[in-house]
C-alpha cells in the first residue's frame, strides 16, 4: 500500500481514519499492525478488501497486490478475482456471525461453491481437508455452530478464510473473544499455517505482546497514520518513535519487574487532528517543529522507519 488515505464522511466533517499509509507485506511473512482503538487498523484492512461503507469521503492511493493495482479494479473485478480468492479476512468476532441454521462445513466451502461453482462432493473433500488442517475433526463438518465451542468456531472461521488458498490472510483481532488458553492454541495454529502454507499475514491487534507471538514485522499506527515500521527485533527492542516506546512501556509484564507507565492524554479526534505530528500533544520529547510540520518516514536502521522529527530533519 502506498500513500493510501480513507476518510469517512460524517455530520461533523470528514474523519481521517487512514491518512497516507504505506505498508508492505512481504511474501510468507506476518506483519503486525498495532495501535489503540480508533487508530485506523481495521480501516486499513478494509481498503485492501475493498469492503468500504457508503459514507466514503476520500479513498486514494495505490494498493499493489502481487503486481496488480487494486485501485484500478472495479468492485466486481475485486469480488471475482481478489476477495477470498487471493486475499481473505478473519474479522473481529467473526465466530459469532456464523449462520446458526447452516452446517458449518457448508459455510466453510461456500466461497468454493459460489465463486468456482465446485461440485458438492469435491467441495466437501476440500472443506474437510482444511478443517483437519485447522485442528477440527471431520465430524464437525455436519455440525451446527451451537454445537461447537468458541475455540472450534474460531477454527471454522480460519478454515473458511483458507478455503480458496489465498496468498494473503488479514486477521483482525482473531483471538479477542477467546479465553487465554484457547488464544494460545489459535496462535500456535496460525504459526503452523504460516509455515506450512507459506502464507502472508496481516495481523491486526491492539495487543503488542500478542502480536509479537506471530509477526516478523510491525507497523505501529497512531491516529490514522503509520508512525513506525520495522522488524520485530527493531521495533520491540529498539523503538524509534516515542509512541512505540511509550506503548511498549505501558504493557504490564509477566516476566520482568518493570513498572508499566501510561501515556498521558488521549488519542485525538480524527475529524480535527492536531497539525504536524499527530502525537505531538502527548509526546514527552516534543519540539517546536513537531506542531508545525509533519515529519516524513525517516529511515533509522536497516528496514526500520520512524515518522518523527527526532530521527531526521527537513533534508531527510
Amino acid at each position: 500500500m502506498s500513500d493510501v488515505s480513507l476518510y469517512y464522511e460524517t455530520l461533523r466533517g470528514p474523519v481521517q481514519a487512514v491518512d497516507s499509509v504505506n505498508l508492505e507485506v512481504p511474501k510468507g511473512e506476518a506483519v503486525g499492525v498495532v495501535g489503540e482503538s480508533g487508530c485506523g487498523k481495521t480501516s486499513t484492512s478494509i481498503c485492501i478488501m475493498r469492503l468500504l461503507p457508503d459514507n466514503i469521503h476520500t479513498f486514494t492511493g495505490r494498493i499493489l497486490f502481487d503486481g496488480r493495482e487494486l485501485m484500478d479494479m472495479t468492485d466486481s473485478e475485486i469480488r471475482s478475482q481478489i476477495r477470498w480468492r487471493e486475499v481473505s479476512m478473519v474479522f473481529q468476532g467473526a465466530m459469532n456471525s456464523l449462520n446458526p441454521v447452516i452446517r458449518v462445513g457448508e459455510q466453510i466451502v461456500e466461497p468454493l461453491r459460489v465463486l468456482d461453482k465446485v461440485q458438492k462432493d469435491e467441495a466437501r473433500e476440500r472443506g474437510v481437508a482444511r478443517m483437519r488442517q485447522t485442528g477440527l475433526p471431520a465430524e464437525a463438518y455436519r455440525m451446527y455452530p451451537h454445537e461447537l465451542s468458541g475455540g472450534m468456531k474460531q477454527r471454522v472461521i480460519i478454515a473458511m478464510a483458507l478455503i480458496m488458498s489465498p496468498k494473503l490472510v488479514i486477521l483482525d483481532e482473531p483471538t479477542s473473544a477467546l479465553d487465554v488458553s484457547v488464544q494460545a492454541q489459535i496462535m500456535n495454529l496460525l504459526k503452523d499455517l504460516k509455515r506450512e502454507e507459506d502464507l502472508s499475514m496481516l495481523f491486526i491487534s491492539h495487543d503488542i505482546a500478542l502480536t509479537s507471538d506471530l509477526c516478523d514485522r510491525f507497523a505501529v499506527m497512531y491516529a490514522g497514520r503509520v508512525v513506525e515500521t520495522g522488524e520485530a527485533e527493531q521495533v520491540l527492542q529498539d523503538p524509534q518513535h516515542p509512541y512505540t516506546e511509550k506503548l511498549l512501556a505501558s504493557v504490564p509484564r509477566l516476566r520482568s519487574d518493570v513498572t508499566p507507565e501510561f501515556i498521558p492524554g488521549a488519542p485525538p479526534d480524527l475529524v480535527n487532528p492536531p497539525p504536524g505530528c499527530r502525537f505531538h500533544p502527548r509526546c514527552p520529547y516534543v519540539m517546536d517543529i513537531c506542531s508545525k510540520r509533519e515529519p516524513e518516514m525517516f529511515p533509522t536502521g536497516d528496514g526500520q522507519y520512524a515518522h518523527c522529527w527526532l530521527r531526521g530533519d527537513e533534508h531527510g
Binding site: A30, E36, S37, S149, G150, G151, D179, V180, S181, V182, Q183, A184, Q185, M187, N188, K191, D192, H206, D207, I208, A209, L210, T211, S212, D213, L214, C215, D216, E231, A232, E233, L236, Q237, K246, L247, L248, S250, V251, P252, R253, L254, R255, S256, T259, P260, E261, F262, I263, P264, A266, P267
Partner: protein, 353 residues
C-alpha cells in the same frame, strides 16, 4: 484469617438452576465452596477464564445475589441472609466497578449527575463539594471542564474514571472491580490502575480485582486467587504465584500469555489442550484433570482439597510438591538463573542480532 478482614467469605456456594425441560432443572455450580479473606487496604486478584465463577463470586460478596450456602462477614458482621432493609450501611461501604464504562453510565446524565446520584439516594448533604473532591481524586481536572459533560464526550479511560468517582463518593471501604480496564486502550489502562492504587493507599480500600488478564492482576494485586470451574485452585502472594506456580492450571495460564518479545514468534507456545468444560457437569475428581498434562489415576478419583503447600501458599493439586520444577518450565520456559528472566527454550532458529 481473622475478624480484622474487611470481607470474609466462608465456604460460599452459588448454584444456579438451569432448565433442561419443562419440569426439569439441573444445578450449575458457578461457585462451589470458596473461602477467602480480603484484608483492609489490600487487593485480592481473582483470575480465571470465562465460566470460572469469578464474577459470580464478586457479586455474591456484594449481596447482589443470594448465595446457595455459606457465610459472608463484612467487618466482622454476618451479612449473609440479612434482609435488604437492614443492609443500607453495607451498601454505602461496599461498591462495584463494572467492566464496560460505556454501559454502566447513563448516557442522558451529566458527569455531575452521575457522580452525585449515590449521595441523593443515601440523603447525604454537602453534595457539590463532595462531587468536586471525588472528581479531583480520579484526576478529572480541571473539574469544571468535565462536570457538565455527557459520557459520550469522554474517552473510555475518562468514563471509567467517572465510574470510579461514583463508587468513591460514599467513602466505601470495599470495592469489587470486575475487569475494570479490559475495555480501555492499552495506553490508558495503567493510568486507571494507578489511580485505583493511589486511592487504595489514601483511603485504605480493600479491593477484589476480577480479571482474566494475569499480567495486570500481577501488577495491581497483593494476593492472587486462581479460579477454575467454581473453585479456587491456587492462592498466594501475587509475585510468588506468577514466578513459581504450584498448580498446573496456573502454570498453563501464565504460559499462554506472551510478553512483547521478538523471540516469541520463533517457538510455539506450550498450551494445554481443550477448553474449560461446562460447570453444569464438571469432571469427577480434580476438575482440571481432563486437560492436565500430569493427570494420574488419583486425579480422576479424588478431588484435591485446597491445602497449604508452603507457608502462605495454597494449591488444590495432589502433586504440587513433585511438580514444582515442571510447572516452572511450563510457565516460563528455562529460567536464566543469573537474571531471573525467563527465556524460551532454543529451537534451532535464532533471532537476528
Amino acid at each position: 484469617m481473622n475478624m480484622a478482614d474487611v470481607m470474609l467469605i466462608e465456604d460460599i456456594r452459588m448454584h444456579y438452576q438451569v432448565r433442561t425441560g419443562i419440569f426439569k432443572t439441573i444445578p450449575l455450580r458457578a461457585v462451589d465452596g470458596v473461602t477467602l479473606a480480603v484484608p483492609p487496604g489490600q487487593t485480592l486478584g481473582l483470575v480465571g477464564e470465562s465460566g470460572s465463577g469469578k464474577t459470580s463470586l464478586g457479586k455474591l460478596t456484594l449481596r447482589l445475589m443470594e448465595p446457595t450456602a455459606g457465610h459472608l462477614y463484612f467487618k466482622g458482621k454476618e451479612i449473609t441472609h440479612v434482609p435488604e432493609g437492614r443492609l443500607k450501611w453495607f451498601r454505602r461501604e461496599a461498591q462495584m466497578i463494572f467492566q464496560d464504562p460505556f454501559a454502566s453510565l447513563d448516557p442522558f446524565m451529566t458527569v455531575d449527575q452521575i457522580v452525585e446520584e449515590p449521595l441523593i439516594i443515601h440523603r447525604i448533604q454537602g453534595r457539590e463539594s463532595k462531587v468536586h473532591r471525588a472528581l479531583e481524586a480520579v484526576r478529572l481536572t480541571p473539574v469544571e471542564e468535565f462536570i457538565n459533560k455527557y459520557p459520550h464526550m469522554l474517552s473510555g479511560g475518562q468514563r471509567q474514571r467517572v465510574a470510579i468517582a461514583r463508587t468513591l463518593i460514599l467513602n466505601p471501604s470495599y470495592i469489587v472491580a470486575d475487569e475494570p480496564v479490559s475495555m480501555i486502550d492499552a495506553s490508558s489502562r495503567v493510568s486507571v490502575l494507578q489511580i485505583l492504587s493511589r486511592l487504595q493507599k489514601e483511603y485504605n480500600l480493600a479491593f477484589i480485582y476480577i480479571t482474566h488478564d494475569v499480567a495486570t492482576a500481577r501488577y495491581f494485586s497483593d494476593r492472587l486467587a486462581v479460579m477454575y470451574l467454581g473453585k479456587i485452585v491456587e492462592m498466594a502472594a501475587a509475585d510468588e504465584l506468577i514466578s513459581t506456580p504450584l498448580h498446573p492450571y496456573t502454570a498453563a495460564l501464565i504460559a499462554a500469555v506472551p510478553d512483547p518479545d521478538p523471540t516469541n514468534r520463533l517457538t510455539k507456545r506450550r498450551v494445554i489442550p481443550g477448553e474449560p468444560p461446562s460447570p453444569i457437569n464438571p469432571p469427577p475428581g480434580c476438575r482440571f484433570h481432563p486437560r492436565c498434562p500430569y493427570a494420574a489415576k488419583i486425579c480422576r478419583d479424588e478431588e484435591p482439597p485446597l491445602r497449604e503447600v508452603e507457608p502462605g501458599r495454597y494449591a488444590a493439586c495432589h502433586f504440587s510438591e513433585k511438580l514444582q520444577d515442571d510447572l516452572l518450565t511450563l510457565a516460563h520456559g528455562h529460567v536464566d538463573a543469573s537474571s531471573g528472566r525467563s527465556a524460551q527454550p532454543p529451537t534451532g532458529a535464532s533471532p537476528k542480532p
